[in-house]
């Protein structure tokens, strides 16, 4: 068992985790919440880190899984949130937007897994086998998801560009 200090892990990986979450989730509150959730999970799992894979891959894996689950959970309760918003039972969430959301619109069309694979490959420049190891899925699944994600994003970019 390798003993790694949480503060060291945080200092070494905070930037990439933030980069990933800031492109994965678009509202400020959710992004910060997800970022914290990832590091809480890392903190929880750190004593069990065996060093089978590199710490980078291990952290990428936690970040990817936490993000996918976070988005799935959000999507699951979207209808309820919309319904409560419609009934004015809860106040509409005020989202602090400090960036132009237009660029993130195409990513909204992707499902949680496609979005993660797209970000890891095209923005984080990870290789297919690395993504397969991070997400623990076969390379074929990575390839097909990436292909589908790119098609969707391309279509959205072109349509938005013409609009």
């Amino acid at each position: 068992m390798i003993k790694v200090e949480f503060t060291e892990v945080y200092s070494a990986h905070k930037d990439f985790v933030w980069r990933l979450t800031s492109k994965y989730i678009f509202s400020k509150e959710d992004r910060e919440d997800l970022f914290q959730e990832i590091f809480i999970n890392i903190h929880k799992a750190l004593p069990h880190f065996r060093g089978d894979s590199s710490i980078n891959t291990w952290i990428y894996r936690i970040a990817a899984n936490t993000s996918i689950n976070y988005l799935k959970k959000q999507n699951r309760y979207k209808w309820l949130k919309n319904m409560l918003n419609g009934l004015k039972i809860i106040e509409e969430e005020v989202q602090t937007v400090e960036i132009d959301l237009q660029d993130f619109k195409p990513l909204e069309k992707l499902n949680p897994q496609q979005r993660m694979i797209f970000l890891l490959f095209d923005l984080e420049e990870k290789k297919l086998d690395e993504i397969s190891e991070i997400m623990k899925i076969p390379i074929g699944t990575v390839k097909s998801n990436l292909h589908r994600a790119r098609e969707i994003v391309k279509k959205e970019v072109i349509e938005n560009g013409r609009a």
């Binding site: 905070k14 933030w18 980069r19 960036i99 970019v157």
Partner: protein, 96 residues
């Protein structure tokens, strides 16, 4: 060709996007959440225990063991046919 360029431009734009964040403040918030968790879990467990106790006592009638109690214990477990054979009842009778 132009469409492909549009897509490439989009990727470059997305790659170049950076959202500033206060890493120290975020670290404090993470620490606060990590330290808050056990306390919150303890509180939830304590509430659950109290609620369960109240529920059980209400369901089984808390006065089952007392004379005149008609809870499930006195009804199904003790069922003293001869009241004097029941140690609690005998004690109560003697006391009276």
């Amino acid at each position: 060709m132009e469409e492909h360029k549009e897509y490439e431009d989009y990727l470059a734009r997305l790659k170049g996007r950076s959202v500033p964040f206060d890493d120290k403040e975020m670290f404090c918030r993470i620490n606060a959440r990590i330290n808050k968790r056990p306390r919150l879990t303890g509180l939830i467990l304590a509430f659950a225990f109290i609620a369960l106790s109240i529920g059980l006592l209400t369901y089984f009638n808390a006065d089952s063991f007392l004379p005149g109690g008609n809870g499930i214990f006195s009804e199904y477990i003790f069922q003293p046919k001869d009241v004097s054979a029941d140690p609690i009842m005998a004690y109560v009778l003697i006391d009276q």
